[in-house]
């Protein structure tokens, strides 16, 4: 595994964290690192082949990486016993509304853009 690409990911994250602390904005540091890497790729005009392979390996098991944090729900079991109904209803209704609104809105906007293009 080419180590320089691991170093690149860590460097982007580090720069992201530094920028966040330095500007004291409440944005997650790794997301700033994501944006930096994204613009870096744009400037370079493509993804180095080795980087693509390293990242595919890392992201193949992305969901394993949030298990340790997820287990932390055990700290909230007392709260969940009190608020499970509010949380469940919020998740179910909000999911239905979000998916329906997204579907209808995107369909309407695509139609609108295509009609406008047809006129010109």
């Amino acid at each position: 595994m080419p180590l320089k690409f691991i170093a690149l990911l860590l460097l982007c994250q580090l720069l992201g964290e530094v920028l966040v602390v330095w500007s004291s904005q409440p944005i997650p540091g790794p997301v700033v690192g994501l944006v930096l890497l994204f613009f870096g790729l744009g400037l370079r005009g493509g993804i180095p082949e080795g980087l693509g392979r390293v990242v595919d390996g890392l992201l193949a098991h992305l969901s394993l990486l949030f298990v340790p944090a997820g287990v932390g729900v055990m700290l909230h079991i007392a709260m969940l016993r009190e608020e499970w109904l509010a949380i469940s209803l919020a998740l179910v209704l909000s999911t239905v509304v979000t998916i329906a609104v997204t579907g209808v809105l995107m369909t309407a906007l695509i139609r609108w853009v295509e009609r406008r293009r047809g006129e010109h």
Partner: protein, 243 residues
């Protein structure tokens, strides 16, 4: 009796070493992922959900506190940062999809992100949820690594967010296509986008089962939703809930 003593000694030694809970985390996930594959990759058997349940049960039975567990599991947790940075690559790969639809896509994602957060927070607040729950619930449609960062910055609980994000992902993957059929959406680009906006990576896995086009749009939507939310939600939450 002697055997009991020996086992007890081994347990004391192992439970003090980070290796035990690191191994346990990876092993639980490997087992959960095996079940998920065997189920034909049904969202209901999501490996994150089942490994969290198994691990919480084990920790409670062995009376292990979360801090002790995390001392081992943190080695896995640490990789979240670099993995979040790495999300730039799939986003870059899928960017060509925006092409001539950039305005509908961006408008839809911004409005959908607002709808998903405000609807969840308002419903939970109306039903009496606490402030910490509301803040942790807000990024429920954002991919877990980014959602945890948002919750942390806004004064919520990253752990709770991680669990709610996974539940939202599973819900959207299970009922999403039925909701889309009910509002008569048949375009795979739109179906993928809607699954990705609401259900991030888990929705994207579901969208790839519809078609490659739906999957690519879902991945794009997941990346853009994460970006929009990471840069707007912490400010909005601080403004609404104070900090």
């Amino acid at each position: 009796m002697e055997l009991d003593l020996a086992l007890g000694d081994i347990w004391v030694y192992l439970s003090a070493s980070p290796l035990l809970h690191l191994t346990l985390t990876v092993a639980a996930y490997v087992l959960a992922d095996w079940i998920f594959q065997r189920s034909g990759r049904k969202a209901l058997f999501n490996p994150v959900l089942s490994s969290i349940i198994v691990l919480v049960v084990i920790l409670r039975v062995t009376e292990t506190d979360y801090q002790t567990y995390f001392a081992g599991a943190q080695f896995v947790h640490f990789m979240l940062g670099p993995a979040t940075v790495a999300l730039a690559i799939p986003l870059y790969r899928n960017l060509h999809l925006i092409h001539r639809l950039w305005l509908p896509i961006l408008l839809t994602i911004i409005i959908a992100a607002i709808v998903s957060t405000t609807s969840a927070v308002l419903i939970a607040q109306w039903l009496g949820a606490s402030k910490q729950t509301l803040i942790s619930l807000a990024p429920k449609s954002v991919t877990a690594p980014v959602a945890m960062g948002i919750a942390e910055k806004a004064g919520g609980s990253p752990s709770l967010s991680a669990a709610l994000v996974v539940l939202t992902g599973v819900l959207g993957a299970v009922i999403g296509t039925a909701v889309l059929a009910a509002v008569r959406v048949r375009d795979d680009r739109v179906r993928g986008l809607a699954l990705g906006v609401n259900s991030h990576g888990i929705g994207t896995a579901r969208a790839f089962q519809i078609s490659d086009l739906a999957g690519a749009f879902s991945a794009l939507a997941m990346g853009l939703t994460a970006l929009v939310s990471a840069f707007a939600l912490p400010f909005a939450l601080r403004w609404v809930f104070g900090s």
